[in-house]
């Protein structure tokens, strides 16, 4: 991992999805994509323009989109169903549950505009529950990549598994720091920075915030480990338990409701395997509002400032 903390390269994670999709289209004739009208926003327009025969417009009808995807999977296609996070999970939940998860259909649900980062669009468009909604479903793999490079890799790699996937990413440009040559494996968390006083288990947008927090905490003599838990399901139990044993304090960091997301997933693991002092940085059981990404991350306390505050409070420093 190489990054410039003062001036990181900025790239859209959704473009990572788009670029991977076009590559996949070239490699595999069974890749098909469903358009739910917002193709320019979620960037499936690149695939559509490259492979128009394998792109199916279903209009603004997400329930139908999930069913059509299941039908395409039945005849051996690998359908990517893509729209905004809220409309890819909340609206068609029952369709995903019965026709995709229960039926174990090889459908890849790829959601853009997730979390609070969608900013000015306001609360209706800020999916802060999607990880919880998808994580509760049997057979569903749930992934939150942290940058462009990792989104690209997750999308490329998910077709190697004949099972449903939910991959979550963002609209705005965010720091791109993991590097294309870094190893990526579903269900295996990446330890980005080693540390001994606290483990910050982060995913998505909050991985970068955790890195900044760790760098700042170093100045106060606190050694923070940063783990990128990109796969929330199946979760990397071994890494979580090891971190808990090593540091005796675990703080999760995510742009999602504090219920049912990464915090819940990690707490489930530790309560069973190694009860450990925990805290969280997440949205406090509330809906968002309009504002810039930075303003909202600050207001809703899901940024490095809050991570540092919680670490210090827990360590009483």
């Amino acid at each position: 991992m190489k990054y410039n903390i003062e001036n990181p390269e900025l790239k859209e994670t959704r473009q990572g999805f788009a670029d991977a999709l076009v590559e996949l289209g070239k490699e595999n004739p069974n890749i098909v994509v469903l358009g739910g009208d917002v193709t320019g926003s979620v960037k499936t327009n690149f695939f559509r323009d490259a492979y128009p025969d394998r792109f199916f417009s279903v209009g603004i009808a997400e329930q139908d989109m999930m069913g059509v995807a299941a039908g395409l999977a039945l005849v051996g296609k690998i359908p990517f169903a893509s729209t905004y996070g809220e409309f890819a999970t909340g609206r068609p939940f029952d369709q995903i549950r019965q026709s995709i998860a229960y039926s174990e259909m090889n459908v890849k649900i790829c959601a853009s505009h997730c979390g609070i980062s969608v900013g000015p669009d306001g609360a209706t468009h800020q999916s802060l529950e999607d990880v919880g909604i998808m994580r509760i479903l049997p057979h569903m793999t749930v992934v939150t990549p942290c940058d462009y490079d990792q989104t690209y890799k997750a999308v490329k790699k998910c077709v190697e598994y004949k099972q449903p996937f939910y991959i979550r990413f963002y609209r705005d440009k965010t720091p791109n720091f993991t590097g294309m040559d870094a190893k990526f494996e579903f269900g295996k968390a990446d330890t980005l920075i080693d540390g001994t006083d606290v483990t910050l288990i982060a995913n998505g947008l909050l991985v970068w915030e955790a890195i900044i927090a760790a760098e700042n905490l170093k100045k106060d003599g606190i050694s923070a480990r940063v783990v990128n838990m990109h796969t929330i399901k199946p979760i990397d139990v071994d890494t979580i338990v090891k971190c808990a044993k090593d540091t005796e304090l675990v703080i999760t960091c995510e742009d999602h409701q504090k219920q049912c997301g990464l915090y819940g997933a990690v707490a489930e693991v530790l309560s069973l395997h190694y009860p450990t002092q925990m805290d969280y940085v997440a949205v406090e059981d509330t809906f968002g509002e309009s504002g810039t990404m930075q303003q909202l991350m600050s207001k809703y306390k899901i940024d490095h400032v809050e991570i540092e505050r919680k670490v210090k409070a827990r360590l009483k420093k």
């Binding site: 098909v32 394998r54 209009g59 329930q63 139908d64 069913g67 059509v68 299941a70 395409l72 549950r97």
Partner: protein
């Protein structure tokens, strides 16, 4: 390889449909739970599809050139299970296991991967979802330039689900002429007449407006069912819908056209009377 038509004449098919009705009653008498009215009402259509019209092979249920069948109204599973059994997909004796634990004949059709009943493609039960799946299947087959046909059975009450109309739009927009929707129009749903709960008429006009080719037929007349299935299969440029006027509980006098028989099984006395009305066939019962 396709093994249809297995039965050709109206008399042969009607007798099989009667046996399927007897099987439904016997299954429900054992399970003491499940839906009576819908399965009896669709027995003729299932017989026509599985014993005559569809390309299928019970010994190789998932062969590449099969026609695809989706039961969107998963709750009428007893008629599908009886039909699959009589057609040789699984042993008739297994009909005794309807709705039993560890069984393949789940209350609503369960996924092949976990429950393994041959002939089932995907789960159904939560209403409104089957047509979208059928449309996706039809689109995939067209992409591969294959000639398999796709059938989906929906209920008339089920058309109250908004997803159905999303799927209707998608089917028409993409001109999936390899898709035939069959509507079990019995004007009954669990609460009351469909017309009382939420009216869907004029139904044919709705589908015409959505750019479907529409057939309205008597869902119990075997000759008309077979003729219409052939016509629908041959129609080009548009998806097709067969609005089949049926009677809930068809063949059992005290159940016929009575919505109260939507979701309940017969008791022993009612079952005995039903079996008396549905005369035995040469195939024999499984009990």
């Amino acid at each position: 390889m396709n093994t249809n038509p297995l039965l050709k004449t109206k008399d042969e098919l009607d007798e099989m449909a009667r046996q399927i009705r007897r099987d439904i009653i016997n299954m429900l008498l054992i399970s003491k739970s499940g839906h009576s009215g819908g399965p009896l009402g669709m027995s003729d259509f299932f017989t026509a599809l599985y014993f005559n019209d569809m390309n299928l092979d019970p010994n190789n249920p998932y062969f590449e050139n099969r026609d695809y069948f989706f039961l969107s109204i998963g709750h009428i599973a007893p008629v599908w299970y009886a039909t699959l059994s009589r057609r040789g997909y699984y042993p008739v004796d297994e009909m005794k296991t309807l709705r039993k634990v560890n069984g393949r004949l789940q209350g609503h059709p369960a996924p092949l991967k976990t429950h393994g009943l041959p002939g089932v493609e995907i789960a159904s039960g939560s209403l409104g979802q089957g047509l979208s799946i059928a449309v996706g299947t039809a689109l995939g087959l067209k992409l591969d330039k294959k000639s398999n046909h796709v059938f989906c059975i929906c209920g008339d009450g089920e058309l109250q689900e908004g997803q159905i109309w999303e799927a209707v739009m998608t089917a028409a927009h993409h001109q999936t002429d390899n898709l035939t929707l069959i509507i079990d129009k019995n004007d009954c749903q669990i609460d009351n007449r469909v017309q009382k709960v939420l009216n869907l008429d004029p139904m044919a006009d709705k589908f015409k407006a959505f750019n479907f080719k529409v057939y309205e037929i008597d869902g119990h007349d075997m000759d008309i069912i077979l003729k219409t299935l052939k016509e629908a299969r041959g129609h080009k440029g548009q998806p097709t819908v067969i609005i089949a006027k049926t009677l809930m509980g068809k063949g059992v006098s005290f159940m016929e056209d009575n919505y109260k028989w939507h979701g309940v099984p017969p008791n022993e006395e009612q079952g005995a009377q039903a079996l008396e009305e549905l005369k035995p066939t040469k195939y024999g019962d499984f009990v």
